[in-house]
């Protein structure tokens, strides 16, 4: 167990990885979005991915959830292993996606009631008992720090909440199936700073129970949250390091140093 005050979220490096990515390449038609990415994500870690636009960050997350099924032209090569299973061998992708929660850059309140937003996925999985659904909805909304604001109006439309509330609703929805892995794609783009900080607190709490891959356009957000951070640039993973090392002069690649110092991106 390696732990130091400088790296409060350091992980047990010896623990088997929850997610193993080897030689991952993603193409859209002839356009290459990601090339030759190798990385491991360990259980209960927040793994940050930073990089400028078109670095392949979002495509990377899509591949983890096998969303290539819904994106015409998207081709994924290489091996991704999640909880010991090679994703390419999983026939039941719907079950895979219930183990992996996703939060998008723009909040998506589905045009259903707040309650139904959170209860949708459990219902699709066959949960019918009202008491069980009530429990899931309350627990998910509490974990997403939204319960106190909406508990008296669960019947209102989720799509009419404010942006910050909708983003927390999106997180609650992602948590409704008790996923082992949570993927966040630049969740703070359309959210005010106060809500961003609240969600960051939520993520720190969630780290106790699940694993998080956090794609962010805010370098400082990765610094605040991630145990380790990968720097993506132009479809390649340039560097992976413990976040504290990266920000304390430990970056090895000049491009990483330039990006962290705000010289581009």
């Amino acid at each position: 167990m390696v732990s130091s005050p400088a790296a409060p979220f350091a992980q047990d490096a010896a623990a088997p990885a929850l997610l193993t990515v080897r030689g991952l390449s993603i193409r859209y038609g002839a356009k290459v979005a990601l090339q030759g990415v190798d990385l491991d994500v360990r259980p209960n870690e927040i793994f940050g991915i930073i990089g400028p636009a078109n670095a392949g960050k979002t495509s990377f997350l899509r591949a983890l959830n096998r969303m290539d099924e819904f994106v015409p032209d998207m081709r994924v090569d290489g091996a991704v292993t999640f909880a010991g299973r090679d994703l390419r061998t999983i026939r039941n992708l719907y079950a895979l996606r219930s183990h992996i929660g996703v939060v998008f850059p723009l909040p998506v309140g589905l045009p259903l009631s707040i309650y139904d937003n959170v209860a949708l996925a459990p219902r699709l999985r066959g949960v019918k008992a009202k008491s069980e659904l009530d429990g899931i909805v309350e627990r998910s909304l509490r974990r997403a720090a939204l319960w106190d604001e909406v508990k008296d109006r669960l019947k209102n439309l989720g799509s009419l909440l404010s942006g910050g509330q909708q983003q927390r609703l999106t997180i609650a929805r992602a948590l409704s199936q008790e996923p082992e892995l949570l993927l966040l794609d630049e969740f703070s783009i359309a959210v005010d700073p106060v809500t961003t900080m609240r969600i960051e607190e939520v993520l720190k709490e969630l780290r106790q129970e699940l694993t998080i891959v956090l794609v962010t356009n805010l370098v400082q957000q990765a610094r605040r949250l991630a145990a380790r951070t990968a720097f993506f640039l132009g479809g390649r993973c340039v560097e992976i390091a413990a976040t504290e090392d990266l920000f304390n002069g430990g970056a090895k690649d000049q491009r990483t140093i330039d990006y962290l110092e705000g010289r581009f991106g």
Binding site: F104, A121, L124, A174
Partner: protein, 294 residues
């Protein structure tokens, strides 16, 4: 700023403003011209047809080939034709629209289907009628019947149902589908829970278009199921029937000794059916749109 009033129009701006006024007025006049036929038709029908409009006109069966009596069997026949056409065109059209909008990939098959739909919409109704005779009356052996006529009407209205429904499915944001898929919902679960509940107005539009076409069309039904004169109400989909649109054609041109007001009364009835359907649809859509969901 050398001039006293920097906002006073220059000569060039003055000409632009003048042209703007002319353009605005011109377009208004042309638009108002459209009202003349619309109001004119309605006015003539009301004035000429009003003497014939009575409760008995709607409830009595026609006599003497339509020269006397009412239009009851034609009215009921039109309701039958429309209802059966709707029952066929709506499910088929909505299903096709769902496939094209939610499942189809952009390949040669999809493109071929899209071209076919556009072409189907452009086929004249008399050609549909002949197709109906061949396909439904003879090949499928429905005989000259409500079923054959309604099938013909359904084929004719399918393109509009498909296009209207597809547009409204496409209007549901892609982000909703993404969110649903990422939670592990199948395409069908996503369609059923998220997309369809939010496309009601488009499907309703399709429904209304079917009704309006089915009520008004004459050519497609006159060879396939509608008859010149019949005093019996239809008892099932394999019966022949009278229909308002064909009846209007007949009392206007084919039957002698028809009182002058009868064709106008029939036409007025036909228009009232269509207009009331339209009004209902507009009211429904306003209600649906009023509930803002995102």
């Amino acid at each position: 700023m050398s001039r006293a009033n920097p906002f006073a129009p220059t000569a060039l701006e003055g000409r632009s403003l003048g042209a703007e006024k002319v353009a605005r007025l011109g377009f208004l006049v042309v638009t108002l011209l459209l009202l003349i036929p619309a109001l004119g038709i309605l006015a003539v029908l009301v004035v000429e047809g009003a003497p014939g409009m009575s409760l008995a006109f709607f409830t009595e069966k026609p006599r003497e080939n339509g020269a006397a009596g009412g239009i009851a069997t034609a009215l009921v026949g039109t309701v039958w034709l429309t209802a059966v056409a709707l029952a066929i065109a709506l499910p088929v059209g909505v299903a096709a629209a769902i496939y094209l909008s939610e499942y189809a990939r952009d390949n040669w098959l999809t493109r071929t289907i899209n071209v076919a739909i556009v072409n189907l919409a452009g086929v004249p109704s008399i050609v549909h009628a002949l197709f109906g005779v061949g396909a439904f009356v003879h090949f499928l052996q429905f005989g000259k019947s409500i079923l054959a006529a309604s099938c013909t009407l359904a084929v004719m209205t399918l393109p509009v149902v498909i296009v209207a429904t597809r547009e409204s499915l496409q209007a549901v944001p892609k982000a909703f589908r993404d969110a649903s898929w990422n939670m592990g919902a199948t395409r069908w679960q996503t369609i059923w829970h998220i997309v369809l509940p939010n496309s009601g107005s488009g499907i309703l539009t399709g429904l209304i278009l079917v009704v309006c076409r089915a009520v008004g069309e004459t050519a497609p039904i006159m060879f396939t199921g509608a008859v010149f004169f019949r005093q019996l109400y239809p008892g099932g989909v394999f019966d022949k029937t009278m229909a308002l649109s064909l009846h209007l054609f007949n009392v206007s041109t084919q039957v002698t000794n028809v009182p002058r007001h009868v064709p106008f009364a029939v036409a007025l009835t036909l228009i009232m059916v269509v207009l009331s359907m339209n009004a209902l649809a507009i009211w429904f859509r306003m209600k649906l749109r009023g509930r803002k969901k995102w």
